[in-house]
Point group: C2
Chain length 251, copies 2
Amino acid sequence: MKPEGAFRSNRATRPRPTLSGVEHMPARERAYHDLRYRILTGRLAPGTTLLETELAALLSLSRTPVREAAIKLAEEGLVSIRARHGITVRDLSLRDVAEILDVFSALEIRAVALVARRGLSRAEHEHLANLLDRMERHTASGDIGRWSDLDDDFHSSMVSLCGNGRLQHTLGEYWGQQFRARMLVLPLRPSPHQSDREHREILAAVHARDEEAARAAHLRHRARADAQQLALLKSRLPPGAPDKTDEEETA
Amino acid sequence: MKPEGAFRSNRATRPRPTLSGVEHMPARERAYHDLRYRILTGRLAPGTTLLETELAALLSLSRTPVREAAIKLAEEGLVSIRARHGITVRDLSLRDVAEILDVFSALEIRAVALVARRGLSRAEHEHLANLLDRMERHTASGDIGRWSDLDDDFHSSMVSLCGNGRLQHTLGEYWGQQFRARMLVLPLRPSPHQSDREHREILAAVHARDEEAARAAHLRHRARADAQQLALLKSRLPPGAPDKTDEEETA
DNA sequence: CCCGATATCTATGTATACATTATCGGGCTT
DNA sequence: AAGCCCGATAATGTATACATAGATATCGGG
């Protein structure tokens, strides 16, 4: 999916849609990662409904670990469990995406502020600056896919430096949902010159250890980028978008 | 614990440490609420370690629902599960509290901004203003306990009006942890005149539908209040505080 | 022909049985 | 005497069996 960031960055808090070292995990984790992977890559399409039994059969496991995995996915917002109606891969309505981006960006802004407070080591700064360099090259060459991967890496690397484990953990839980939304609009995305500029601004503020400036810069960045993403989605979905107003989190 | 807010406010997203309508819940939920209650009220003290079997016996249930409840509590940060070593009620180090407050306030600030964007109905504004009135009376009479309950109600009522279900849900998950931290410093807390003033400011900005002002006001409020809380904790814990630097979320 | 009550069937929720594996203690070796 | 290895023990992880409750379909009545 991406070039596997130079240093440890974020593997732990942000389980990417990859299925590498899944061999000797407990079954529950295998089930979780497997299903998550299938959902994020679209192999399990939104709307797909499966019973616990069917999932168990699909993964060649018993219901117990599959059930626990499903509960975790539900709390993560990727599926919804309706008792006696099975486990359904959630569809992302416009409203859902708005909610997700709101939470995600609020947390990310705080993370960036913390990084600014803490400051960057030379290596960290170079890593981040290097990411921005590469992104700008991809912007120039119009390779929006690679740009997007690096964008994600930039944001995630920032977060991984914030020093707040809970913040990272919760951001990780929202990452999957945000990823799906991102994939929806990727092909529609215009040239990200503006984002590139904003990233430089953010990095500069963080590097200067100016917490307020960093917070403000990242707030502006996310506000603009999120609004753009929503606008693109709105222009794309409406055709036959049911935009289900289903309330109630899976809890 | 508190006077049961005038309108629906928040019961759903913020499971208070109360054990009222637990009768006809599924066993897993009973277990979850029961254990959560015991932890938040201190009946299960930090450091207490129990095996799945022991918990099951304690609650007169089989391991299955108890286990699922324990996993949920672990994801909520109230206990940590160490395979083959049992389920331990987490202790709150200074660092833990700092992490929790960071996440909690970041989310709450966003929630308040959303409420400001959305605006308040007449009834909603009156409810909130009424809470502030009562808080100020308790400040005057020095009843810090009642003040704290209303403070929590004010913040939670705000959140319940933000219109973002996921935001409410995640805040609810952090509420328990935040509650524990709050209880630790309650007796040490000085007269909350400053908070009262800030609350008025926040409510005014929200009522005026000035999103930026509301965000800024709430940010200031939380930054100051959180710093104060941490300072109080620091002055209290150090005596014999191990301040475990145990990293690694339960995940 | 439609509506409603009931019975059956099935998916989940819970309990229990079984397998796996880490930990702890004892005994052996050096 | 100290350290290591091995095995017994026990706790978790997983599978399965059982109970419950909800949904559907059928049958009878209006």
